[in-house]
Subunit: 408 residues, 2 copies
Amino acid sequence: MALIVQKYGGTSVGNTERIRNVARRVAGYRAQGDQVVVVVSAMSGVTDNLIKLAREIVPLPSDREMDMLLATGEQTTIALTAMALHALDLPAISLTGAQAGIVTDGVHSKAKIRNITPQRIHELLNAGNVVIVAGFQGQTHEGHITTLGRGGSDLTAIALAAALEADLCQIYTDVDGVYTADPRVVKNARKLPEVAYDEMLELASLGAKVMQSRSVEFAKKFGVVFEVRSSLNDNPGTIVKEETESMENVVIRGVTLDKNQAKVTLVAVPDKPGAASRIFKALAALNLNVDMIVQTSSHGSGAKATDISFTLDKPDLPKARKTLDALQQEIGFTEAIADEGIGKLSIVGVGMRSHSGVAARMFETLASNSINIDMISTSEIKISVVIDLDRGEDAMRVVHDAFLGAGA
Amino acid sequence: MALIVQKYGGTSVGNTERIRNVARRVAGYRAQGDQVVVVVSAMSGVTDNLIKLAREIVPLPSDREMDMLLATGEQTTIALTAMALHALDLPAISLTGAQAGIVTDGVHSKAKIRNITPQRIHELLNAGNVVIVAGFQGQTHEGHITTLGRGGSDLTAIALAAALEADLCQIYTDVDGVYTADPRVVKNARKLPEVAYDEMLELASLGAKVMQSRSVEFAKKFGVVFEVRSSLNDNPGTIVKEETESMENVVIRGVTLDKNQAKVTLVAVPDKPGAASRIFKALAALNLNVDMIVQTSSHGSGAKATDISFTLDKPDLPKARKTLDALQQEIGFTEAIADEGIGKLSIVGVGMRSHSGVAARMFETLASNSINIDMISTSEIKISVVIDLDRGEDAMRVVHDAFLGAGA
């Protein structure tokens, strides 16, 4: 008998038929004698509708009231999921985040979990219930309802798995698991049976979109092993866990392409101390996520100056431009050029730690396919390059072939 | 400076534009320096949609999970209402029933309020907030979410007014107040400036539909004076309060017609002890609300037998018929005849206590208009007659004219 925490995202509970499917899957585990805690998101579309309602009333709703509003989405799903289990004659009881003992700090709309008191859940499980918990939400010590921000339901599941000392944590989603590359682009991409937390973190932050980084970080911190798998079939998914020695035998785990980046080049920044710091402080103050930064000597006039290039999320470009325009005169660069036609191609793998020549092989592969590299950044387990967006998918395929293809 | 509790029903908060209207009204009271507690229902249609979702999953959802589900309706409205007040630059904070300190018993779907701890609301009011409370809901001592059943939001408002010792309790609805008769039927019906609790109770139970009896009973028990008024205009409404001496000068307060009753006649019930008791016990066990009962000597054979007639709510007729069919042989009546073509006309007024001849005048009025009386029942402040449904509205007009018309 195992204690399993299962999380189902918005698509997996998107209508009453799908909620019944979730109940059937849970019933299967119960029939094996397992105890099951189910964490659910709001039904897909519900949160967006609530946001739309709020915006009809006020352009910038208060975070506290937004949390009060959005928390109803998951509360609706837990009640319906409990009913679906009752329809299968399984005892089940739903709990809001607050009722489940999830206490957060008071930062509305992106609260952090402070602690979880799992007493009540244990009691309800031991009494034979399936326990359904609302994802994405908690309450403060003072009793205000909070939400955990993007990816919050995954976080609820992983934090509950830690607090309950669950044997297994399953994250059900609409993909089969984590792949060596996006299977829509790379036909021979393979599902990975396992990945290390650090690899998953790089993949998450690189836009693989399976999970938010914070949930993976939380799992890593508390040693929660979890499985990412599909709610649409019974295929085994991908296990995410602490790095093992055998993992290092694989040089790279996956290839990702982030099409959502833009590059900004500041031309002829005067080479004075503090200029770069001024610029990036101003961008940081806007919470803009600046990623790669490259500084090169300018092709400008005889005066001492450099070009500074950096990448950031495409939607942040207008905000960044406004700030840069305001700074232009003060800092003294001649121009800020934005380029939305870039892609960031990355390879990730803990095996890089013990294998040399990985970067060289990547660059060589790209060069031999006439794909030009614009910027480079590396970490211990990741190499990223900025390339022309038009060649992005080609690049993904050739690099995948080189490292992960059938002949690799 | 007064402390005012205002309740807005589902129609009054039916869309975001109406919620903004509610906020503007509240702002008007705040501008006068009043403290305001706002109780809101679910937006009209929301509760029905949730019930529909639940029914898609299971025909008879558990009451606990239904409460969990339905409570989201009011929670949505409180958040939106708080936002609408923020849009007018008014500090406002929303509270679920649980957060507002409303503790109920554990009878899900029709919980009774056990007590209210108004501490938190007082603190929030004193800090300058408008406090928005979710109607219709509370929580048990064990922390389960409960709902109060039909008319529950009125009850929340009246109970809060009692607990907060409010100066004023306003029930905003889609009618202007309580009328001497339904203005759609009786053209010269007048809005009543005030009615006594007992009169309001009779009017409520007679189907005047302005409020549920239980809210009025609660107000009477705790001496909460409240006003029923429209959220669509600024007209003063009807004050509901303890009977005063001056009220007795008015013989009758209003005339109502209940078209939702049916009459059942059991023909030739053998005149044996316990026969009637058997029948009405069986109907009571089904929670059928039997109203008027009349027993007459039968027009049947020479054997000792009586006819028993009673009225009940029309929708309950199929259930009642099933039970009566099952009992027919055992009790030995020859037939159960149902008549859906009846109306119950009533006049209500505490003035009846001190005025004689009211019944006679009512019967005379009906007789002189050739309207036949089928059954009669009276209480201290009410006289009801069953008449032909086809003559119901005529009867209402002539009786209204006789007691409440311009010349009366």
